[in-house]
């Protein structure tokens, strides 16, 4: 009996014991749970997920169409327009509305108020690297498809570096391989490369991408994806910047900005070849797309433009056959609905924040937020309709400082829809100006069709933006706005309407036309080309492309821009003068690409920021009430807020490296002055 019990007991123990040991070897194994989990292995095995990973990489592309630190629609933003001299920001808050902190030279490495993208871009680079290393694991697709993907990732990686360079100048180039986090910290501290190293590195990435990317996207549902031309456009911009004085010899103020071996981060010796390279990069695209600017055929009331007889031919040879107002404006305000139908676009962001954030541009009477303005200097840069300056107008298109227009005039469409109406009672100095002026600047007494405004919401000012202190879009109404600090009115007397569609209204039940954000367009490339050629002293051959100061080509390319907006072209005499051309190019870039984010870099790379950003910010006296129009139209130093000024010192050429980074990596050299 006893024996049996003991035997039974031990048999049981033996059984349990053996079962336990059997199972115990795998007891800690979590593979059964983890293998079914979503891991990066899963991602790179399947076509759909690789595509989704790539979609996420696209979110690291900066959106030109946003002005504030906290973006919507997964976009990344940089404040290039709002902190440069092309605009004046009405906000100085300790949050994403911090623009004046930059303008007032109060930025410190401690706080970038939502615009600190250092870590973000490096995160994009790391994720792109992961993609580049692993994309070939996906065997579900053809090698050609993988090549395309690889090209897209290389492009995005290059863009992350380029954006870092734009903000911080020369930056560290990190290894492609993933880093083991146990590596001693010293080895993880990477110093800045020089600007030229960075530039060459990024150009190299883009050249590789060009080899891999498709020439065109076949399907309209793929508009916005990267193509060869997008990469070429980036190279054009990059090489132009690298050739510019700041990075090419004229940087004695940064002489002390050098690495441990004493190599200056900015190239101190002028090298003409860089201009040749920039010219060649632009020429590559110009040859592919010799005349590709966006145009809209002439309408019944397209105004006749005062250009010489020989320039009256049909576009692209002259100004004929197109409506200049719409040819320019419709790219930006959403009227040209399909980006794929616009041959000028090289790279576009289909769902830009611009649709949401035009509210910061629009006047109070459509419930816009009126946060950014033009200074009088920028307004005065716009040509008269016949291409003259305001201080030397012709008799037929006079510039009159006093008086008001007596009748409404509408052109390029209907008054209530797509046309532009210059209202009666408009100060005369706004009459007789070039088309881009009307497409861009919303001066006092501007008419906004805002067709989606419900009739019952139309206020006392109707659909007219008036900036008198007591107007709907003026200072007193702004003070009444909820949750604002009373900054939301045109503090200089000007708003921007370049991105406003005639339907747009922010009043309740109003609508906004969907707009895409253009990142690269041909107009810039033509101007890049002209600018680079203008500097050349002889003929250069770069990568098989020969460039020289070809005056015929310079004039042709420059005049494409002029003719599209109905302005007379430049003459052979203009082209003959190198310094004259520099001024013309700078001004044309400003006017053509107003508020597209280029100006910040143009003033810095050409060393003009010291001049422009130290000029007083002038505007109209918006403290004047309706009854004091003459007071209103006096040009004064902007005084609505004490921070409405700009200062430029050398250190503002680049942003300081954020404190959190420089503390962790003591091999990083801070920008002198911070």
């Amino acid at each position: 009996m006893l024996k049996k019990k003991i035997i039974t007991f031990f048999a049981t123990v033996a059984l349990i014991g053996s079962m336990m040991f059997q199972s115990s070897c795998n007891f800690l194994d979590i593979d059964p749970y983890v293998t079914d989990l979503f891991t990066l292995d899963t991602v790179f095995a399947k076509q759909e997920y690789v595509q989704e990973y790539l979609n996420n990489l696209y979110t690291y592309l900066v959106d030109n169409g946003s002005f504030r630190g906290n973006p919507v629609n997964n976009n990344i933003t940089m404040p290039w327009t709002t902190i440069s001299d092309e605009s004046v920001a009405g906000y100085k808050r300790m949050n994403y509305h911090s623009y004046a902190i930059w303008s007032n030279n109060e930025l410190t490495p401690e706080n970038f108020y939502g615009f600190d993208r250092w870590d973000t871009f490096y995160e994009g680079i790391r994720r792109a690297n992961t993609f580049i290393i692993r994309v070939n694991e996906c065997q579900e697709v053809t090698p050609i498809r993988r090549q395309e993907w690889l090209g897209e990732a290389m492009f995005i990686k290059a863009m992350c570096y380029f954006e870092l360079m734009l903000a911080w100048g020369p930056v560290p180039i990190v290894p492609d391989e993933p880093v083991d986090f146990d590596t001693p910290i010293e080895q993880l501290m990477i110093e800045r490369g020089t600007w030229d190293e960075c530039s060459d590195y990024v150009e190299g990435l883009l050249r590789q991408a060009i080899d891999l990317l498709p020439e065109k996207r076949m399907d309209n549902s793929e508009t916005g994806k990267i193509t060869k031309n997008a990469a070429r456009a980036v190279i054009s911009r990059l090489t132009l910047y690298t050739a510019s004085p700041l990075y090419n010899g004229s940087n004695s103020e940064f002489a002390s900005f050098a690495n441990e071996e004493g190599v200056p981060y900015l190239n101190p010796v002028f090298n003409m070849e860089k201009w040749a390279k920039a010219a060649a990069a632009a020429k590559e695209l110009v040859e592919l797309k010799p005349n590709d600017l966006y145009t809209v055929p002439a309408l019944a009331n397209t105004p006749a433009v005062p250009v010489p007889e020989e320039e009256q031919a049909g576009f692209p040879d002259g100004v004929g056959g197109i409506d200049h107002y719409h040819s320019y404006l419709d790219m930006f305000n959403g009227e040209c609905v399909q980006a794929s139908t616009n041959p000028e676009i090289l790279f576009v962001k289909e769902f830009s924040d611009i649709t949401t954030y035009t509210r910061y541009l629009d006047p109070g009477m459509t419930d816009g937020w009126s946060g950014f303005y033009f200074s009088q200097r920028i307004v005065d840069q716009y040509y008269m309709a016949d291409g003259r300056n305001i201080d030397s107008p012709s008799e037929s298109y006079p510039y009159e400082r006093t008086g008001y227009t007596v009748r409404d005039s509408t052109f390029s469409g209907d008054r209530m829809t797509n046309g532009f109406t210059l209202l009666a009672g408009t100060r005369k100095w706004y009459a007789n100006r070039e088309i881009r002026f009307y497409a861009t600047v919303a001066f006092n007494n501007s008419f906004y069709p805002s067709t989606s405004t419900p009739p019952d919401k139309v206020g006392a000012d109707g659909k007219i933006a008036r900036y008198f202190s007591n107007s709907i879009s003026g200072k007193e109404a702004a003070a009444q706005r909820p949750s604002a600090q009373g900054e939301e009115y045109a503090m200089t007397g000007y708003l921007c309407r370049k991105f406003n569609h005639y339907e747009d209204s922010w009043l309740s039940n109003g609508r906004r036309k969907l707009k895409y954000g253009i990142l690269y367009r041909m107009a810039e490339v033509y101007l890049n080309y002209v600018e680079a050629m203008n500097e050349l002293d002889k003929s250069y051959t770069i990568n098989g492309i020969t460039v020289s100061r070809d005056q015929i080509e310079m004039k042709r390319c420059f005049n494409l821009i002029r003719h599209r907006v109905g302005l007379p072209g430049i003459t052979d005499a203009d082209v003959a003068s190198q310094t004259g051309m520099r001024a013309l190019i700078e001004r044309e870039r400003l006017l053509e690409m107003m508020w597209e984010g280029r100006r910040y870099f143009d003033t810095r790379r050409t060393k003009k920021a010291m001049i422009y950003e130290n000029e007083p910010v002038m505007g109209l006296d918006v403290s004047a009430r309706t009854s004091e129009p003459e007071k209103f139209y006096t040009v004064i130093k902007a005084k609505e807020r004490n921070y409405l000024y700009k200062v430029f010192t050398t250190r503002q050429t680049f942003w300081p490296i954020p404190k959190h980074e420089i503390d962790k990596n003591h091999k990083l050299d801070q920008i002198p002055g911070y």
Binding site: K3, K5, I6, I7, F9, F10, V13, A14, I16, G17, S18, M20, F21, Q22, S24, F27, L28, D29, V34, L37, F38, T39, T42, Y49, E52, Y53, N55, N56, Y58, T59, N74, W118, D119, T120, Y122, E123, R126, V174, V179, D180, F181, D182, L188, I190, S221, E222, T223, G224, K225, V337, A339, T341, E350, F351, L514, Y516, H660, E661, D663, K664
Partner: protein, 1029 residues
């Protein structure tokens, strides 16, 4: 390995099956105690064959058959065993009288996975007599630990039923990375601190705290923070025993913040405004209204504490246990309940039976059955129900914040027109509304804990060999139901100047009753098998060995992502080998080899060895003869490695830090002329490779001394070096492009200190005197911390003690305008009478660079306790003090900084005392009021950005000495109670938390509250009745 194990086991079976028989003779007799009382339940067995034993019946008689000439052992708990050699004749009668023993029970100590003879213990182990855990009010066992056990640091932060438990750490906190809490094992199973909190003190058989490496290494990766071992009571052979303990207590709140009432408040508010150049807030007419309480709507005078708190509350606790059994089966069964009512004054809640309280009911059944003479099966079961009620707002902390926030004249209890008041929402609502008008919440939880153990004596195979196997599963379920509502709340804004009618504005819109519920569960399965071997050779060499396998699986259902939901598992083997020579030299080796699923394959297991030496000087014959008063002198040393696998962040477990996870709802992108959204995936958390165990190298030096059989002293000194501490990497440059949390084994910390106990026990005639004392003293230093090297060395964590209080250094109050002018720039506009800070870095500004370590951490680094007990005949008396030191915290916040919230925030009455505050002579007309040593600076109406920030000015010293308990008991003489068939009857009264000596004085220093907005610690008077049958 698997096969060989099976074969070995089969061989065991065959061998131990061989038993043999022989002719036996019959022996009988009676067993008595020294007073000639008959002893039932005494075990009698042949020394060579213990399994053939019998026990005496209720009349103390026994009968046994044994081999002629063999030795019979008579053993009974509480008595010294006696051995008698029997003759060869049949039917012998042997009557035995047993001597009482006071020593024998204490001679064993509970250690990890077993018991050891006390003399052979080489580790640092503190024990507490279970009876001591019963001395206290009706509250959790955890609240009786601090100050009673050397090496344990404990603090209680709240007195509210349900939260009135203590947090505790063994030898302080010695890691800043993962968890720092001790491993709590109840009957060998990890049941956590909640298991300890809810344990009936009467059910505890033994309570040990394992502190050093030799005691804890056997737990390997779980033992680095120390181990608490609790065994519950088992049945003992003998007649049925019934014990009943009842406690009934009255609780009150000895210390509440003392706030100013309306009139004094308004006078001081005017001062606060006028001394900074503002217009006074209250006019003389309003002073009169307030003084005579003429307008209770607009100018009320409410003491919110009186409105929501009763003077006293009641609590009850009871335990009835039945134990007994025979040689074959023994049982211990108990039932326990505890109910604690909160002291809130609630009205209108009776209809829901939902006053704030906590009720606990639990059962326990521990059964041991001798299935065969060599096989014992034990089944330990316990079940527990806990019901808790709270107001519908959920957290009562909101009520305490509201009490600190609402001044006597902010709003009345109720407006005269019947409307409920509120200044704002949340903690600006009237406390009575929060307590009574927000519906209610119930938390119900139940726990089942079980443990089945089979023990097999394999002496027939190899003498001294034992096997045991255990399976345990624990299950916990919790359901929370909340019925939340809120009435419309109003604030008075004035009166209609014509009609005098009260004008109100609605501050909070009513919410109708809304029901929500949630539930979750936890489940643990634990399996363990163990082999042990003990042998004595030549009476001098004692060898012991133990080898064990264990695995645990823990799962909880309140985690909702696929990674967190993976069961937590660990497994391991552990072993111990001991050798001693002549009870003088001892050596012990332990190891744990553990694995956890939290680490990558190949790095899952860690080996944690330890070794200890013991040297019992007092067992030398020379010492025994020449120094007879030295009963015991033992020197101990141990060193070993122990691990910690807890990684937590913000109180949540960090799982699989080596895994890279994917975010499947990452931002995507829009493509197409008609923009279409295409979703994105990307990496979410990047795994860090090379993660290993956090490990502690522990050294312990100890001495045990016993003199004149009455003085016991144990002192231990320790030095821990914690290595590979898990922490989030803070120094990875941004250029790595890693924005997620990366873990690394990058921290190092050293902690050291000492703990000890001393006791004195002596009998003087009828008096039994016992004095006890213990202390714990710890220090620590962070050796490595992954931090960006700060601009000034004093800003660094590295080199300081963990949790060091940091703040500005106050130099006092500014004397005059010149003093302000000649001092570095501070915060905002500073006037004489404001706090002057030290510019540590000398840059002429006071800013974040001037924040330096200025005090100890919140968790005390020193605790001590001392107790005395005196017994005289039936009367006994116990007194217990406990203290705590080396702990600091900041005072501040609403209810402390006077008028910092303008119309919100009570003002402490100490502010009203002119000597406590700085008032400019220009206001008071008396230069003496510009007191440079005032406790409060120049008053400010509204927040003062200069004064109201952490600095030495507001640093409070949390050290205290508490008269924790006093007990007076009376045991009725046996002759009185025999008649009612009662074995023992004792009544006693316990006073708990009777007095505190401290520096804070505003509220209890142990709670370390910045503004006193906490449920205070109770004072209780408890009546205890203990009966046993």
């Amino acid at each position: 390995m698997k096969k060989s194990t099976i074969i070995t086991l089969v061989i065991f079976m065959l061998i131990c099956a061989s038993t043999f028989a022989q002719t036996k003779i019959k022996v009988s007799g009676v067993v008595t105690d020294p007073n000639n009382e008959l002893l039932p339940g005494v075990s009698i067995y042949p020394r060579t064959n213990p399994i053939q034993g019998v026990i005496t019946n209720t009349e103390g008689k026994y009968e046994i058959s044994a081999q002629p000439g063999s030795v019979l052992v008579f053993s009974f708990i509480g008595f010294q065993s006696k051995e008698v050699t029997i003759g060869s004749s049949n039917n012998q009668i042997i009557n035995v009288s047993l001597e009482e023993s006071t020593q024998e029970l204490e001679e064993v100590a509970v250690v990890g996975y077993g018991v050891q003879r006390k003399v052979s213990v080489t580790g640092a182990i503190s024990t507490i007599k279970p009876a001591e855990l019963q001395i206290g009010g009706v509250s959790s066992v955890s609240n009786t630990l601090a100050g009673r056990i050397a090496g344990l640091i404990g603090i209680q932060s709240s007195g509210e039923p349900g939260s009135d438990v203590s947090e505790f750490w063994i030898r302080g906190i010695s890691t800043f990375g993962g968890g720092s809490s001790a491993l709590v094992l109840i009957d060998g199973i990890d049941r956590g601190t909640s298991g300890l909190n809810d344990l009936a003190p009467e059910d505890i058989e033994s309570f040990s705290v394992l502190k050093d490496a030799t005691a804890t290494a056997i737990y390997g990766a779980r033992g680095a923070n120390g181990v608490i071992l609790i065994n519950t009571k088992r049945g003992e052979e003998g007649k049925i025993k019934i014990n009943a303990d009842f406690k009934s207590g009255i609780e009150s709140l000895p210390r509440l913040p003392n706030y100013l009432r309306a009139y004094d408040y308004s006078v001081l508010a005017n001062e606060a405004r006028e001394v900074r150049g503002n217009l006074p807030l209250y006019s003389p007419e309003i002073f009169d209204i307030l003084k005579y309480n003429m307008d209770p709507d607009l100018y009320p005078d409410v003491s919110w504490q009186d409105e929501i708190l009763r003077k006293r509350t009641y609590s009850m606790q009871g335990n009835v246990n039945i134990s007994g059994g025979s040689k074959l089966a023994r049982y211990y069964m108990s039932g326990f309940y505890r109910t604690n009512d909160a002291i809130y004054k609630q009205t209108g809640m009776e209809k829901y039976h939902s006053n704030v309280r906590r009720n606990q009911y639990s059962f326990r059944s521990n059964i041991d059955v001798e299935v065969t003479p060599t096989t014992k099966v034990s089944l330990l079961l316990s079940a527990k129900l806990v019901d808790q009620n709270r107001p519908g707002i959920g957290e009562t902390q909101t009520i305490w914040n509201a009490v600190a926030n609402l001044t006597p004249l902010t709003v009345p209890v109720k407006y005269s027109n019947g409307l409920f008041p509120s200044y704002g929402s949340g903690n600006q609502t009237s406390p009575t509304v929060l307590l009574n008008e927000t519906g209610y919440l119930t938390d119900r939880s139940n726990t089942i804990e079980s443990l089945l153990t089979v023990q097999q004596d394999l002496s027939s195979l190899l003498k001294g060999l034992k096997f045991s196997g255990s399976v345990s599963f624990d299950n916990f379920n919790s359901h929370t139901q909340r019925r939340f509502k809120l009435p419309d709340l109003y604030m008075a804004v004035g009166r209609n100047w014509q009609t005098g009618e009260l004008l109100t504005t609605k501050t909070v819109v009513a919410s109708p009753m809304a029901y929500t519920s949630s539930s979750y569960g936890k489940r643990t399965i634990y399996i363990e098998t163990r082999m042990s071997y003990d042998k004595t050779i030549n009476e001098k060499h004692v060898i012991g060995a133990m080898l064990l396998y264990q695995q645990k699986d823990f799962q909880r259902t309140d985690v909702y992502d696929e990674i967190q939901a993976i069961p937590k598992r660990n497994q391991g083997i552990a072993g111990r080998a001991t050798y001693s020579y002549d009870d003088i030299y001892f050596i012990e080796g332990n190891f744990g080899y553990n694995g956890s699923e939290n680490f990558p394959k190949g790095q899952r297991f860690g080996l944690f060895p330890s070794v200890a030496l013991g040297y019992v000087v007092s067992n030398y014959p020379w010492v025994k003869t020449h120094l007879p008063f030295v009963n015991m002198l033992k020197l101990r040393y141990s060193v070993g490695l122990v691990g910690n696998d807890q990684i937590t962040k913000d109180g949540k477990d960090v799982r699989f830090p080596y895994l890279t996870t994917v975010n499947t709802s990452a931002p995507g992108y829009y493509y197409g002329d008609v923009p279409g959204y295409y979703s994105g995936v990307t990496d979410q958390v990047l795994g860090s490779t090379g993660l290993v165990w956090e490990s502690a190298l522990k050294n312990n030096w100890g001495i045990d001394l016993m003199l004149w059989n009455s003085v016991n002293i144990t002192i231990d000194a320790f030095m821990d070096k914690r290595d590979n501490i898990f922490m989030q990497r803070n120094t990875l440059p941004g250029t790595l492009g890693v924005r997620s949390i990366i873990w690394g084994n990058v921290g190092r910390m050293r902690s050291w200190g000492s703990d000890g106990t001393a006791s004195f026990t002596k009998k003087f005639g009828d008096f039994n005197v016992e004095l006890r004392g213990n202390f714990t003293f710890t220090r620590d230093k962070i050796l490595d911390y992954d931090e960006v090297i700060p601009r000034y060395p004093y800003l660094a964590q590295k080199g300081t003690s963990y949790g060091t209080t940091r703040g500005l250094i106050a130099l006092g109050l500014f004397k005059d305008e010149d003093d302000v002018k000649n001092s570095p720039a501070q915060f905002g506009k500073v006037l004489p009478g404001d706090i002057k800070y030290q510019d540590i870095n000398g840059d002429g500004k006071i800013n974040s660079y001037d924040i330096a370590p200025i005090g100890n951490a919140r968790i005390p680094k020193m605790q001590y306790g001392f107790a005395g007990s005196l017994a005289w005949k039936g009367i006994d008396c116990n007194i217990f003090f406990r203290g705590s030191g080396k702990s600091d915290f900041f005072l501040g916040g609403a209810g402390f900084y006077p008028f910092s919230g303008e119309k919100l925030g009570n003002v402490l009455s100490i502010v009203n005392d002119q000597k406590n505050r700085w008032t400019p002579a220009s206001y008071s007309g008396d230069p003496a009021t510009e007191n440079p040593n005032a406790r409060f600076p120049r008053l400010t109406y509204g927040d003062n950005e200069n004064n109201n920030r952490p600095s030495t000015f507001w640093l409070a010293d949390a050290s205290f000495l508490r008269l924790k308990t006093v007990e007076i008991g009376y045991t009725l003489p046996a002759k009185w109670i025999d008649r009612i068939a009662v074995d023992n009857l004792r009544i006693s009264a316990i006073g708990d938390n009777l007095h505190v000596w401290d520096n804070v004085k505003l509220w209890d220093p142990e709670q370390a509250s910045s503004n006193g907005a906490v449920y205070p610690l109770n004072r209780s008077y408890t009546l205890v009745l203990q009966i046993s049958f």
